[in-house]
């Protein structure tokens, strides 16, 4: 801390001075550099620690394994770094620094662009690049030629009596400013998108449909300004989900191709169209994109009571547990008065028996098999609490038993088995495939892309344009010939200034009327 007893302590800053000091610091290049590094550092935990938005399951898993650490992580928003206040603080500080740096520079640049190039200094031979030529043409012809030559080379010029002053490469600073301002545009576009955009997912089974309303979504994340009334009112029917799996080679078992064949109705009352959605080919309707995300299986069982009356039938969505799509799910059969039936099942698309247990050995359905057990009692569906469709609440149910062992059955397609205790029969009818669709709108994406492309254009200009000043002076010497001096000064590093000045001198000579004698060229 500062030594309070010291007499040499500077007088306390007033609020205004302090504000100005903070502003100067914030807009200094040193602080901007620090903020750039800080932002890079701050992004690292977001890539190392699982993030809620991207991988909620990984986060849950992490919390389970490290509850103590997870509490601290949560306190600092480390499971959602990119929405954490401290992360926002860094990039907002960087933005403020950037704008604070760019605005005054824009003003200066605007003035500089409208100002005349400065007059030729008296002693041009002191400039870093210099040529001296003696020609026959009179000075004003030479200067007119110089003027034309410099103009053609895209210099801004300022003609005086005995000289021409020129300046080129203003685009460098223009590019620099455009680059930085475009970054602000990109960030604003991203912010806009997060306000108005939305993303929902829904699992659709083959031969079922989906209408684009909020209630149909399995999950939805939307910006604060999102309005459900703006959802495009399309509907679709999934005819078939094509899911090809590599049969051989090193990639055996991994997906080869996905295609969702749908009948699509853009708006109620419009004609149905046949469309297909593939991995890199989403379906677009009115700025909203429909993507296919994940595939899976929905096995169909028919449950009958002891009298053969159908209690439940049709496919149920199962969730895959491994790369070979061993999938688990439940079939809830509400009967009422404590006689509900719950079936807990595992589906193997290509079943194989190893070490007494069944596994799936291939993601495609070559040998489908359903392994299940059953419960009887109260499903708890009618007590009003929300329930997962993928889990049974067995607190009020009892597992069916056979000879003191839990009842288990393995069925191939078409097989039926009788449940113990007169609870009826279960038939494995087959399966359909399902696909998880993502419906999303990225508001402001065109603006973000435009801003990004503009930023690149500005960046390239700021990296490759060279600022320089050029002067040409023409004077008559004692012999009546004209001494032409061409000089240049680079205002940004790199580039071949000497070569440029040489080229300008050559171009100037070429513009003069045919010489009576060869011009005498002397290098500086």
């Amino acid at each position: 801390m500062a030594d309070r007893g010291s007499d040499t302590r500077p007088p306390a800053l007033s609020a205004g001075e302090l504000a100005r000091w903070v502003w100067r610091q914030l807009t200094s290049m040193r602080v901007a550099l620090m903020l750039l590094f800080l932002l890079a550092l701050a992004a690292i935990p977001g890539s190392v620690i699982p993030q809620r938005r991207a991988n909620p399951l990984d986060v849950a898993d992490f919390i389970e394994r490290n509850p103590e650490l997870a509490r601290w992580y949560d306190r600092f928003g480390l499971f959602d770094v990119f929405n954490a206040p401290w992360f926002a603080a860094i990039y907002i500080a960087l933005m403020v620094s950037l704008v604070g740096c760019i605005l005054p520079r824009s003003r200066d640049h605007w003035r500089a662009m409208r100002a005349q190039p400065p007059r030729a200094p008296r002693r041009l031979e002191r400039m870093p690049a210099y040529r001296r030529i003696v020609v026959d043409a009179p000075p004003d012809v030479v200067l007119a030629a110089a003027h034309a030559e410099l103009r053609q080379r895209r210099h801004r010029t300022n003609r005086a009596d005995d000289s021409v002053a020129a300046e080129a490469g203003h685009l460098r600073e223009t590019g620099n400013l455009v680059f930085h301002l475009s970054l602000v545009i990109v960030l604003l576009a991203v912010a806009l998108g997060s306000l108005f955009g939305y993303r929902g997912t829904v699992i659709v089974q083959e031969r079922t449909g989906f209408a684009n309303t909020l209630t149909q979504y399995d999950s939805l994340s939307a910006g604060t300004m999102f309005d459900a009334r703006n959802l495009p009112p399309f509907a679709l029917e999934l005819d078939e989900f094509v899911w090809e799996v590599h049969e051989s080679g090193p990639q055996r078992g991994t997906p080869a191709d996905f295609e969702a064949r749908v009948r699509f109705v853009p708006e109620p009352g419009e004609v149905e169209e046949r469309r297909s959605i593939r991995v890199n080919e989403p379906l677009e309707v009115d700025g909203t994109l429909i993507h296919i995300l994940n595939p899976g299986y929905a096995p169909a069982v028919t449950v009958r009571d002891a009298d053969g009356e159908i209690l439940a039938e049709g496919p149920v969505t199962f969730l895959p547990m491994d790369d070979n799509f061993t999938s688990e799910g439940v079939r809830k059969v509400p009967v009422g008065s404590g006689a509900d039936i719950g079936i807990e099942a595992i589906f193997f698309p290509t079943a194989a028996f190893e070490d007494g247990g069944a596994t799936s050995v291939f993601a495609g359905a070559r040998n489908p098999m359903l392994l299940f057990t059953a419960y009887a009692g109260d499903l708890g569906i009618n007590d009003g609490t929300a329930q997962s469709v993928f889990r049974l609440d067995t607190s009020e149910m009892e597992q069916l038993m056979v000879d003191g062992e839990p009842f288990r059955a393995a069925l191939a397609i078409g097989e039926t088995i009788e449940m113990p205790g007169g609870h009826g029969t279960v038939t494995f009818d087959g399966y359909v495939k399902w696909v998880q669709l993502q419906i999303s709108r990225n508001s402001g994406k065109e603006l973000a892309l435009g801003g990004a492309l503009l930023a690149v254009a500005g960046l390239v200009a700021s990296l490759y344009m060279r600022r320089r000043r050029v002067w040409v002076r023409a004077d008559e010497d004692e012999a009546g010939r004209t001494v032409v001096e061409v000089a240049g000064l680079a205002r940004s590093g790199g580039g071949d200034l000497d070569g440029q000045i040489g080229d300008i001198a050559d171009g100037l000579i070429a513009r003069l009327p045919a010489p009576a004698a060869d011009p005498v060229v002397r290098q500086g």
Binding site: M29, R30, A32, L33, L36, F37, L39, A40, A43, I44, G46, S47, V48, Q51, R53, A54, N55, D58, V81, F82, V190, R199, H246, G249, P250, Q251, T254, P255, A256, D257, F258, R278, V279, N280, E281, P282, L289, H291, Q438, S440, N442, K445, A448, L449, A452, L453, A455, V456, L459, V460, L463, Y464, G494
Partner: protein, 316 residues
Amino acid sequence: MDAAQLGEWSRILVSGAMGAFIVAWFAYSAALLRRPERELVTAGHSELSGPPAESPEAGELSGRTTDDGRSPAERSAAIGLSVSVVATALLAAGVLTRALAIERVPWGNMHEFSITGSLVAAVVFLAFARTRLGQALAVWLVLTLVLVLGLAVTVLYVAPGPLVPALQSYWLVIHVGMAVVAFGLFTVSAVLSGLQIAAERAARKGRATSLPESGTLDRLAYRLIAVAFPIWTIGPLILGAVWAEVSWGRYWNWDPKETWALITWLAYAAYLHARATAGWKGTKASVISLVGYGTVLFSYFAVNMIFNGLHSYGGV
């Protein structure tokens, strides 16, 4: 010949290229050791006012010469160059057979990315291998190639096969292609920055060195980064975002790969600012360049192999 056989041939050719680069590395190392020490720069020497550096030829000519008028160092360097040419030709054949085996651009996974990136670096190196700078770089660049190719034919190797559906897109050609180019340029600039630091240290301590002048290395590293940075901005970042929107429905996901691409971008943006605006030159700027390259390596190796993200299929 079927894909598997072509793939085997590719692996053999690439391994052969690696072997040849090892030979080249020994030749270049020998050239470095046999080069007579030269009094290049003295302590306190500055770029503008110091005595002019001795010409490159003078040092070598003052050494022992052989029958054909070349010094042992020159002969070793010449062997290194010829073997490098052979190695590059083998590598090119390896990349070509790989491309034939998979019937698409050879940068769909880390193995392919590594061999293609190495080929780009090798060709760029050969283009200026005879210059003084090329000779200074040779040992380090060839060593880097040996390491990368060694990884490519061992831990990174996968037999030729089709791509997952998400990668079956022309965006792969552009997005990953530009990443390969930027990766190669960043690699060379990192070697230059490393040498710059060594050269500056040697100059400060007045030690003799065979390195090019520190300022030259600094400028060249800057120029390469000035080329690579816009490529990085367009390919991995902007076009990556465009492809992400097409493929995942969202142009920015904070996926580990995206995050690290951005971290790399920020690091090199800091380098350009430090060098161009704040006027940092020499070691200070080179350190930032090396930090930037560290992020490039991390996002290539660590992110692909450790993290589970949307880019996971880019893995081994």
